[in-house]
Each structure stands twice: as structure tokens, then as C-alpha cells.
């Protein structure tokens, strides 16, 4: 196999899963949250062989929360970024920790800081904050008497 460009990877994923779309102007792949498990299962194995789940990021877009999966392939030297959009009313998404073990702690971190519930996670506890912490600190509407935002330019 040779290294694939991001548009080639997204073409392969889109031909296999028609429900998957691409973010406008980028090569980020938007996966409906119901399909994250089957898409993950597919891309982990050849031909894409994305065996390294490098990073999971949460982004609070105020009206929705994005979960961003950054994936790379050690053997094929290519990578892809998946995004799952969650509405604030329903912050549940299936855990991929059975597919990539690295997701275990990375998902715990997103749960801790954003309050996203990863269903099927073996051990979904807070990780950076104390276990009895209230609220989700990286949400844009988070407030805490100890946290004072600096005046903006």
C-alpha cells in the first residue's frame, strides 16, 4: 500500500458509508453518531489501516459539541480526522475504546471536561478533575467563582 492523500481516504470512506459527509472546505469527515462504531471498525483494518487513534478533542460550538478523532496509520503514513456532532440535549456517543485502547483515557478526558457520555466505555470516570467536581470546565458557559476571565482586547 502507498500513502493516501486525505481526499482519497475520504472518497473511500464515503463510497463505503453513504451517510458520511465532508466538512465544507476541509477534509474532515463528519460521521453521524449512530455510525461511529461501524466506521471505526472499517477504517481500523486494511485498506486504510488507521491503527493509531492519536487524539480525541472536544469542541464546544455553543449550539453543539463536536468530538474530533485524529487518526493516523503507522504502516501507511497517512491520517484522517473524524468529527461527530452532538446536540446539547443528547450528549451520548458510542465509545470506541474496544477498537482502539488509547480511547479509554482520551474519552474519559472529554467526558471530564465537556460532559460527553461515551456509552459502552468500561470505566467512565473523571480523570483530570477531582472525582466529585461539579460542571464541565471547558464548556463555554462554565462558571466558577475561582475562575476569572481576563479582560479581552
Amino acid at each position: 500500500m502507498k500513502k493516501m492523500r486525505p481526499d482519497e481516504i475520504s472518497a473511500i470512506i464515503k463510497s463505503k458509508f453513504p451517510q458520511v459527509t465532508e466538512e465544507a472546505g476541509t477534509n474532515y469527515i463528519i460521521v453521524p453518531k449512530e455510525s461511529i462504531l461501524e466506521v471505526s471498525q472499517y477504517i481500523k483494518n486494511p485498506p486504510l489501516a488507521l491503527d493509531n487513534l492519536h487524539c480525541i478533542t472536544g469542541i464546544d460550538r455553543k449550539e453543539k459539541i463536536e468530538v474530533v478523532y485524529t487518526l493516523y496509520s503507522i504502516g501507511e503514513h497517512h491520517g484522517v480526522t473524524l468529527k461527530v456532532n452532538l446536540t446539547l440535549e443528547d450528549l451520548n456517543v458510542a465509545s470506541v475504546s474496544a477498537i482502539w485502547k488509547s480511547a479509554n483515557w482520551l474519552e474519559r478526558e472529554v467526558y471530564d471536561l465537556f460532559g460527553v457520555i461515551f456509552s459502552g466505555h468500561p470505566d467512565l470516570r473523571r480523570i483530570l478533575n477531582p472525582y466529585d467536581w461539579q460542571g464541565y470546565p471547558l464548556r463555554k458557559n462554565y462558571s466558577n467563582p475561582d475562575f476569572i476571565a481576563k479582560p479581552r482586547m
Partner: protein, 373 residues
């Protein structure tokens, strides 16, 4: 809990806390160990004692203001953190820096890699009972690097040297001479470590075949850096996704065979040799020119997002930055290498003796500053 009643003795598994205040946990890490006599049956790491919520702080700082915070992530390799962050911002801004700045960044980053690996080597030997001597030797060598950094930027631990668009100050001829002297000084010292530590019988007995991490498990857990290469995976971002001028420089990627604690240690020793090679070549081909490009003090990236990763001494450091058109990042995620490296620990310490957990943890060279962020 398992309990067995023998004829005249009652035994059961018990829980014990190792840390958060413990000399061998390399910072404030707490391991909750489930012990059956001397044997570990389960291990649950508790982290977050150093949590400063840097990602939230970043949302209230301009891009330039956040550079000093990156020093406090992996405080043993501050230059490499600076580098990873400013390169991520430069990628977001589509900023191309001067050739001289690229070479200087490589020299500085590799010097700091040696300093970081020296600490890893010294503390690992100390963890295994080689009391004080190797640690003092390593700190003696590290002192030379710290002095060079002090002369370059005025600080000994948190440097704040990299800038968006270049570096803070040029390397003078005097400093370059000092670096050349250091290379000559350092080469035989690494051979000394081989004689003193690497092939020492007690050291081998303590670290060989302990904490074996298989290739598949390392990749699945997203273990990176020397720990991944110790498991025999030839993967180094400087080679496989070259940034700066690494593609113009010659160096090898050392790998281990068995993936045990000794292999991870050995990879670090070999990497120091390779770093010296890189610095030597970079100094030879250091071009003349400016060290910064003309950019404003505040940076306004367009509405865009980017992920950039660099090879840090401890593994791959990634920054996910989302810009919203203002001078502040909308979201800044730090993917720290030690965080993923530590996650694999509970798998490796099952059914080994308590004394060996120190060996496994030391060989991973985790640093709590970047795990807790």
C-alpha cells in the same frame, strides 16, 4: 476480594497507595495497587494532582501570551514544547519562517532532547538502585546544556525562546563554539554510561524482560516516542513526517527488540548519539540570515482549525488549535505524549512484583506536568 483459608494462615488481597508523594513516581502520580503478597494483581492510576486547566487558560490568552505556558507542560523539555506550539500556530497562520531560524530550532530542540534523555537515564538508574552516582553524572552533563540555554535566552528551566515566526535571539559565534565543545565533551560520556549502566549486570537483571510491551499493544494504546521504538516499531516523526529541516539531515532511528524496560532505556541512549549527529550537521550547514520574519505582535488566524504534532523527547506532542478570527484561540487541545504512555501502565504491571513497578514506570519516563496539564 479473593480470600483463601489455609490451615493456620488467613490471606487476602489488599489495596495500597503508591504516591502521590513517592520518590519513584516522578511527580505527583498516585497508583492504587491491589497486592497479593508481593505480587501486583491490579493497578489503577489516579492523575490530575497538577491539573491547572491550561486549555481553559489558553482561551483567555493571545497566541503569543500562551507560549510561556507551554514551558510548564513538559518542564524538562521546555524548548520542544515551545517548538510544537509555535509550529502549530504557524501552520494555522500559514507562516513560513527563515532558513536560519529552522536550523536554530533544530539545534536547540536536539540539545533539549539530550538534556531530557539525560534526566530519564539518571533517574531510571536511580530507581533501580544505582544510588546517586549515575544521576549526578547525568546532571553534570545536563548542566552544560542548561548553561548554553541560559546564555541564549536567560533562563535555565522555562525558556520561552521560540517565537511565532522564528526564535527570540540569534545564536552568537561564542554560543556555537560552546555547542561544538559540548558535542566533543558529550560523545565519550555516552560511552561511559554504556560501561557504567547499560551493560551492568545488576542493571540488566533488573530491567531485562520486565514490562514487555508488544508492538501491537503499543500502537493500539497510541504509545509514542522512545517507548514505541523500544517495542521495535521504526516510527519517528522526524523521519516519517519531517518538519523543519530534518529531511536534510542524516540520522538513524534506533529501535529495540523485545519491548522491555531495558530496550526503552537503550533507545534513549542511542537517541542521544543521533541527536549529537544532528546538531553537528545543523551547525555545519547553518545559513546566514534573519531569525525572525516580520509579523505583528498579535496574530489573527482566519476561521480554521489545525492539528500539528512534533517528536518530543517523550513522544508525539500534538496541538489541536481552533481559530475563530479573533486574537484568542477558540479552543486549544494539548495531546501530551506521557498521557497516552501512562495509560498502558496497568496492562504491563499485572502479575509482576512490587519492586518492578518502579522499573516499568521509570522506563516509560512519564512527566506529570504534561499529563495533568
Amino acid at each position: 476480594m479473593d480470600a483463601t483459608q489455609t490451615k493456620d494462615m488467613y490471606t487476602e488481597e489488599f489495596l495500597i497507595n503508591m504516591g502521590p508523594q513517592h520518590p519513584s513516581t516522578h511527580g505527583v502520580l498516585s497508583l492504587e495497587l491491589k497486592l497479593d503478597g508481593e505480587t501486583i494483581r491490579g493497578c489503577t492510576p489516579h492523575i490530575g494532582y497538577l491539573h491547572r486547566s491550561m486549555e481553559k487558560i489558553a482561551e483567555n490568552r493571545t497566541f503569543t501570551q500562551f507560549i510561556p505556558f507551554t514551558d510548564r507542560l513538559d518542564y524538562v523539555a521546555s524548548m520542544n514544547n515551545n517548538l510544537g506550539y509555535v509550529m502549530a500556530v504557524e501552520k494555522l497562520l500559514n507562516l513560513e519562517i527563515s532558513e536560519r531560524a529552522k536550523y536554530i530550532r533544530v539545534i536547540i530542540a536536539e540539545l533539549n532532547r539530550i538534556a531530557s534523555h539525560l534526566i530519564a537515564t539518571g533517574t531510571f538508574a536511580q530507581d533501580l538502585g544505582a544510588f546517586a552516582t549515575p544521576l549526578f553524572y547525568c546532571f553534570r552533563e545536563r548542566e552544560k546544556i542548561v548553561e548554553i540555554f541560559d546564555q541564549i535566552c536567560g533562563n535555565r528551566l522555562t525558556y520561552n525562546y521560540m517565537r511565532i515566526g522564528g526564535v527570540m535571539a540569534d545564536l552568537s559565534g561564542e554560543i556555537i563554539e560552546k555547542i561544538k565543545e559540548f558535542i566533543e565533551y558529550m560523545r565519550p560520556k555516552i560511552d561511559d554510561y554504556d560501561e557504567l549502566i547499560t551493560y551492568n549486570v545488576i542493571f540488566l537483571a533488573r530491567s531485562k524482560h520486565i514490562g514487555v510491551l508488544s508492538k501491537e499493544m503499543a500502537i493500539n494504546y497510541s504509545v509514542t516516542g522512545p517507548n514505541l521504538r523500544g517495542s521495535g516499531v521504526k516510527w519517528d516523526l522526524r523521519k516519517d513526517e519531517p518538519y523543519l529541516v530534518y529531511d536534510k539531515l542524516e540520522f538513524d532511528v534506533p529501535v529495540g527488540e523485545n519491548g522491555d524496560a531495558w530496550d526503552r532505556y537503550k533507545v534513549r541512549i542511542e537517541e542521544m548519539r543521533q541527536s549529537l549527529r544532528i546538531i553537528e550537521q545543523a551547525i555545519e550547514s547553518l545559513p546566514q540570515g534573519d531569525v525572525t520574519v516580520k509579523v505583528g505582535r498579535v496574530h489573527k488566524p482566519s476561521v480554521s482549525e489545525t492539528y500539528f504534532r512534533t517528536e518530543n523527547p517523550r513522544g508525539e506532542l500534538g496541538f489541536y488549535i481552533v481559530g475563530d478570527g479573533s486574537v484568542y484561540p477558540y479552543r486549544l487541545k494539548i495531546r501530551s505524549p506521557s498521557f497516552s504512555n501512562l495509560a498502558v501502565l496497568p496492562e504491563l504491571v499485572k502479575d509482576i512484583k512490587v519492586a518492578d513497578i518502579v522499573c516499568v514506570l521509570g522506563s516509560f519516563d512519564v512527566l506529570m506536568g504534561e499529563i495533568d496539564r
